[in-house]
């Protein structure tokens, strides 16, 4: 199969579960794969599932996974003919994409021009308006306080004052009433100026109770651009998705086809090729939807789309990058059954989702579900990168069965040694509103604020812990307790002084 490819070796410019996932797609296509890794990732799972691995720098991402010269150097050194960026790190960096192409390598992603067009939020909004893709009612232009006030009066409240150059909620203020506008404009301008060196502001209608629904698109280099239906991603904490599913329980056929058509129009407006995702906010009250942004890369939650459509998205990313035509048409694609994904994070869900580290002491995945993991037993989870460890994905005939399968899979997952969110995910999925499919992007924040794992300790837990302390050596020594934290001063975890 590899002989019809213009390349036979792919450099994976990423780490963790997504690097492992891409390596699997390479293998399926008979392509050799090359991993890159930082000093902190020596021996990591993603370096073990590839044909070769190249050290590209110290732990700090700036000096390794975000270091364009180092990544390109690894590609050259290994003789790779293509670069797959995964998600995060350099995946949406148009300069990197261009540099890959300038080095004579195949970029497994969209054209840099499309990445730039979608990366500038103000420009993207303009383009979408021209393409007839619905955007939130808003105002952009002369942003003197007087003009903004007049525009706000027309838009109505609540509204959002937003940095034109912004992203990630920086330089952004929710304004509930006219009286708050002056202060919000001043504050947003200060923040925008210091964060982006650009104090331009725009206004946008604010949706208090919105759903996040996105559409997967896939295009080849011969003019075929298709959608692979939607994903429902409203279950979020800290503005980050934790559970995704498809189909969305909110959509009916009419809304689905309108959103999917808008997504393909959005992608077509920037001459998109390869895989990408168009994100929308949906107002559940009016069932109106609005363009949020386009992610010009592979998405974390792509497995649910693969499970329901049967299309291996990563495989097709490599194939269309190689110049192949998509062999299926829009009408060939259907959604079969229901798929759901949960993201397993190294974090303390009961303490503001603070990232956690540690050694994976014991790891047992549940059977009959899809596992996308970046960790293995015995490995350390560090503090340098995103704390997502793995994804569990299930596929069933309908939503009810998918939900049940996911709850069973979470309960069967044994991940010991690193504090993680598996118990929290089980609590979320046990909620009746989640079972009913009735939630919005702030649902978790509202419903699970101050969540704590049940503090009760069943007798068998205590008994088991004590039983495990019974070793001949221990019994002999029971006079002096070697495990006493008071004996060792600070930190009494084995390996605590390792780093």
């Amino acid at each position: 199969m590899a002989d019809k490819f213009p390349f036979n070796k792919v450099l994976i410019a990423n780490r963790g579960e997504i690097a492992v996932r891409i390596a699997a797609a390479c293998k399926k296509l008979g392509l050799a794969s090359v991993a890159v890794y930082s000093e902190a990732d020596a021996g990591a799972l993603h370096t073990q599932v590839v044909d070769e691995a190249v050290l590209i720098g110290p732990a700090a991402a700036r000096e390794s996974y975000l270091n364009i010269a180092a990544v390109l150097g690894a590609a050259k050194e290994s003789g790779a003919g293509a670069v797959h960026p995964g998600y995060g790190f350099l995946a949406e960096n148009a300069e990197f994409a261009q540099a890959v192409m300038d080095a004579g390598l195949v970029w497994v992603g969209p054209p840099p021009a499309a990445m730039r067009a979608m990366g500038d939020k103000a420009k993207a909004r303009e383009l979408m308006l021209q393409a007839g893709v619905p955007v939130l009612p808003g105002y952009q232009g002369d942003d003197s306080v007087a003009k903004l006030k007049a525009a706000a009066g027309k838009l109505g409240y609540p509204l959002l004052v937003k940095a034109a150059a912004g992203g990630g909620g920086v330089g952004q203020r929710v304004v509930l009433a006219a009286a708050e506008l002056d202060e919000a404009i001043a504050a947003a301008r200060r923040e925008a100026a210091s964060a982006f060196g650009d104090e331009r502001l725009v206004l946008e209608k604010y949706l208090a109770m919105a759903r996040h629904v996105e559409v997967q698109v896939l295009g080849d280099q011969h003019g075929t651009l298709l959608h692979l239906f939607e994903r429902e991603c409203s279950l979020q904490r800290r503005r980050q998705k934790v559970v995704e599913e498809t189909p969305s329980p909110l959509l009916d056929d009419e809304l689905r086809s309108a959103m999917c058509a808008a997504a393909t129009a959005a992608a077509a407006a920037v001459d998109y090729t390869n895989a990408g995702t168009v994100e929308f906010l949906v107002d559940p009250a009016t069932r109106e939807f609005y363009f949020l942004e386009m992610n010009t890369r592979l998405q974390v939650e792509h497995p649910v789309t693969e499970l329901t459509t049967g299309v291996d998205i990563v495989e097709w990313q490599l194939r269309v990058a190689a110049g192949e035509r998509l062999p299926f048409a829009q009408n060939d694609l259907t959604q079969r059954g229901h798929a759901m994904e949960c993201r397993i994070y190294a974090e303390d869900s009961a303490a503001n989702f603070l990232p956690q580290a540690g050694k994976v002491l014991r790891l047992q995945w549940p059977s009959s579900v899809r596992i996308d993991a970046g960790i293995a037993e015995g490995q350390r989870v560090g503090v340098y990168y995103d704390p997502m460890l793995a994804k569990l994905s299930v596929h069933a005939a309908d939503r009810r069965q998918a939900l049940a399968a996911m709850r069973a899979a979470l309960a069967d997952t044994v991940l010991l040694g690193v504090v993680n969110n598996i118990d929290f995910l089980q609590a979320v999925l046990a909620d009746t509103a989640v079972a009913a499919g009735d939630f919005d992007t702030q649902f978790i924040e509202r419903t699970f604020a101050g969540w704590q794992a049940e503090s009760g300790l069943p007798a068998e837990i205590l008994l088991a812990a004590a039983a495990l302390e019974l070793q001949p050596a221990m019994i002999a020594e029971q006079g002096a307790d070697p495990y006493s934290p008071w004996a060792s001063g600070s930190g009494f975890r084995m390996g605590g002084g390792e780093r």
Partner: protein, 163 residues
């Protein structure tokens, strides 16, 4: 023998006896008996109910997975586990593993309750370590750029007696 564990900030104590292949434990005045063989998973049998326990140990920490839930128990010394011992809030420890981004105080500094003592960063999140009370900084146990584990000592404070 007597064992004391901490779980979710609470201290639990039990008495354990091994009688042949049977474990006899007293938890909160209640007696439990179960056949016991150390294995993976550990299988207990309480009141005719088999219980499968996946487990891992890391020094004094024991991780257990039972009925879909994960527990971490930390072995503590019997009599002093109540947290009454001197130290308490005077020893400020890392709430998460990470890197020390900035150290803002040095030994001998007088600090007011709520003052920022140092900044800790992990995975793009910044956490400020604040003085728990009006105090004098006794020890700064870390330096800028250093990696720290969760619970690692950062700063020791001496209460300010208002002298």
């Amino acid at each position: 023998m007597k064992f004391t564990f901490e779980h979710s900030g609470q201290v639990h104590t039990l008495e354990l006896q091994m009688m042949g292949e049977v474990l006899r434990a007293v938890v909160n005045g209640q007696v439990h008996e179960t056949p016991f063989e150390r294995g993976q998973p550990l299988i207990l049998n309480l009141n005719g109910q088999p219980v499968k326990v996946a487990w891992a140990k890391d020094g004094g920490d024991t991780w257990l997975h039972v009925n879909g839930r994960t527990y971490m128990l930390r072995r503590t010394a019997g009599g002093r586990a109540g947290g009454q011992a001197a130290g308490g809030e005077r020893s400020l420890r890392a709430p998460m593993p990470g890197q020390v981004r900035k150290v803002l105080v040095q030994p001998g500094d007088e600090v007011a309750a709520g003052a920022v003592l140092l900044l800790l960063e992990a995975m793009k999140m910044e956490v400020r370590i604040l003085a728990s009370q009006d105090a004098i900084v006794a020890v700064v146990a870390v330096t800028e750029g250093q990696s720290v584990d969760k619970e690692q000592l950062l700063v020791e404070l001496e209460p300010d007696d208002g002298g």
